[in-house]
Symmetry: C5
């Protein structure tokens, strides 16, 4: 399961953040204007706290782990997987179910290996399919929860940015009698808004979406494996099985 | 059913709230600036009233009770539960269904005990499954309603915060001819916004999410019990049942 | 079907509205500041108009009628209903289906009476269940539509409040050369915001939620009756039927 | 299929719009203040353009046609329809399916006529039901799309109103050195907000909701017809069919 | 599969954008006021970056390809397709399944050709239907993802517009002591809001909606083909098949 880094997420993050920074400079601002400790503390501390309260620790850890789905590209090939499944089916039809036992160590995918093990162990196909299907559903739910963590952070950040902005405005208005401080103070207050809206829209929400979208292929791959295990156990015609398995990747062109 | 306090919710609440307070001090404000009786009365009184109108009293009581789901960690182990169910199945297969009657008092989970009691009483498995399933659905709906109560409070608080802010601004503008009062007054008015947005995003909405997320494990546990009761009644192969029950906890790793 | 007034909705409405009024006084405002004819006309007239356009007259009338669900507490007992159904089942098993005819006038619930009448008339159980189920669905849809009416009003009120505020600001800015009028005028303009946000969040949206939540028990009760009618027609074991019917109210404790 | 105009939508539109106009006059404004060409051009032109891009031309035409659902009241009676169906069933049972052929020209509803024609033509009931059901689904989807058109316009109008307001503010600020123009200019800018929020909340969104709500009865009527055609083809007991068909209109009282 | 350009999307885009430009001129502004490099860099660069992070590269490419669905009109006729399917069915009934082989090269639709090929190859109808159905689902999901890309861009643009506006305001307030610069600076800041709200509401969101709406006909066409392949394989009565296939296009009139 080697992984290579996904260049497009890096490209997207760099384009997004540098557009803001460069745009600000073009407009005549300086980067120093948008670096401010108090605003960062309020927005990121508050968002972190709200997110920790919102999810059990297991979901938070899963969310961190799911970053590898966002940042890395799977090198798994569905084409090779279909060949592997068809090959297992042919072995089972020629030499019997038991002959699959020797193949298990060399199976590339752990879910496929598990399914073949259950076939060899003589479990009923309905028991096997139920167990595999529930594992896929558990995986899907874990990914959805991981995505929800970043989505929640993306929902909290802008509203907590408003808290930072309003606190800044209160501070400014306490000193309203010194006009020279007002403009400066409001500027500082607005930085919290930028931190909140920016972190949500350039980082948290996009990552939540990316995790969900990229996991869809993995889930489709697992469903393909379940269909393959079903075909192997039933010893169906390999041509039939190939038509079914290949339909998992056809038709997605526009 | 001993419970231990869940340290992460306390950690999250402290980090979230103290980030706001410390950020405000770093910015040069004082905590006194953000304590104000009228704003608290409007925001928390209004939110409380709107929430009480929104739900029947039974749901409000359930919501308070559900805080123990948010604040405590269950010590229940699914691994031990599976052993217990397999053990009951083995007894039923060796010594007959009636032998389960003696085991009921020592069963650790009330739903499992109830299901075994119904088996011993000779009810049809479909009647038992229907009754257990409906109890699980009722539990799930109660949790969802409890979560909705905090979610509703989290929806009302910021908008009622706007009422507080606007009332403050009206008051300020009545006295607009005294410029020294304006800044001070607007500051006071903004505190209502902070109370509304802050209580919603640091407390109400995160707790609503946490209750829902943490209940998912409990519901999965109850569904596992239903599957186990089904297996016991039918006297299926214990190895088969173990594969099915263990699939409830597999596959959730990312 | 006697009804007693539900004290909690009155409690909630009083707490919500008086928090705003008292909070305003604590802040130094007067109630007179927040009473204004033009704002009331715009917000409540506009919201009323938009709501009338949004729904057929039948739905609007149903919405008004559904207020009795929000404001009154049902005295119906599910425990007594289960006894009544079990009793009818026992009569049918002892003395035959036809013996139920004499019982119909004394049946407490009209839906149960209707179902028993259909049994006595000799209709097939599938016809009876389909007819009863469709009536329940119709009831559920009527309640949902009634709730949607208040929800729509709660959606229109704050945005029409914005129209009122903007109209006020335009008026103010026409007279911007007279500074003394500006503060006063803006204050008046803001009252429309308070009317819009307040009526939506303290009255319309909470009532929409309450109607929906309280109807859930009524729908569960009707489904229980359908299950009971099914049991009576089939003459199933009364113990079985009791287990099934009681599962409708178990499991909702947290 | 005579139609009479539905007085309540006219009533709602008049109440909604005149509340805004009269409220503005009570507040001391004049109607001339809220009539402005540039704002109208931006808001209504922009909303129209965005809506035309959002939907295929067929959906836009359907949306215009669906206004007759919003503005007219159907005079169709479900009671008469049930009598007509029962009558057709009685004829088919007494004189055979073929006797229905003579009745087709006098059938009041085209969908019912079509179904009876298919029965007479000897199609299998499953083919007939599938064809009728798909027609009902197509109708339902067309209505939903028509409602979505107005809903989309109601979503675009307020945000394009913001564009109008911001363009106005830019224009004002270009001339900020002439204070007398500022107030006037801002007022003009705000008119775009009123056009956007007002047209969305008083016209577009309410009409989208009304179309959807009013079509529900038509869809229920078509489902009733499908059930009736099924009953006629199968020649079921007319009393049974009446119980089933009448359940389509029972139970919707609160 | 010739395509002709769809004139209505061009009409909509031109009307929408020119309404804003002309409205601005009518109000007394100039187009130069709303052209600004820094705002464009922040809004479009930030939106592009956030969108690239949100989706795997395959979805982004699909989104660009799906623009041809939005901008071109299909010339495919469902009426001709039904004739073609009926014709294939008649050949299969008269001369046997194998006679279809010679027809495949002249079949107008690739999905229909594929299905007929699978029939000729002797696959079971359930295998064929499963494979075809999964291809249709894959196509539907690809379109939904493409639509989501534009929808996400339409969600990011206005919020990133806020970042641009706030950065502009900070810059202005740094120079608040030079009143002549204030108005000009705020005006520049507001342009970012117009770019964000305008690009979202006049381009991104409408295109997302249009792609989804226009794909519905294509999906319905593919389902019609699946039904046709089923009919051909089973050799059902051509009159029956015609009734079923024609129901896919009936009933969508309002």
């Amino acid at each position: 399961m080697q992984k290579i880094i996904d260049p497009f997420i890096l490209f997207g993050l760099i384009i997004g953040i540098s557009s803001i920074v460069v745009g600000n400079i073009v407009e005549g601002g300086t980067t120093a204007h948008i670096l401010q400790l108090a605003a960062a503390l309020i927005v990121f501390g508050g968002t972190f706290g709200a997110t920790v309260v919102s999810f059990p620790i297991k979901d938070l850890i899963n969310a961190l782990k799911s970053l590898k789905i966002a940042f890395f590209e799977s090198t798994k090939s569905n084409r090779l997987l279909i060949e592997e499944i068809i090959n297992l089916l042919v072995i089972a039809r020629k030499r019997g179910i038991m002959a699959l036992e020797n193949e298990i160590p060399s199976i590339s995918d752990p879910l496929l290996a598990k399914g073949v093990q259950l076939i060899v162990d003589g479990y009923e196909i309905n028991v096997i399919k139920e167990a595999i299907y529930r594992e896929i559903k558990n995986y899907e739910e874990s990914i959805k929860n991981a995505s929800k963590v970043f989505d929640a952070a993306g929902g909290f950040a802008p509203t907590i940015g408003i808290i930072g902005a309003v606190l800044g405005l209160i501070h400014v208005l306490q000193n309203v009698t010194e006009p020279s401080k007002v403009g400066q103070g409001i500027a500082v207050a607005f930085v919290a808004t930028i931190y909140g809206v920016g972190s949500a829209n350039l980082i948290f929400i996009p990552i939540a979406k990316r995790i969900l979208q990229k996991s869809k292929n993995e889930i489709k791959r697992k469903l393909l494996i379940m269909e393959g295990i079903n075909g192997i156990e039933k010893g169906i015609n390999p041509h039939y099985l190939r038509v079914i398995l290949e339909s998992f990747k056809n038709g997605d062109k526009i």
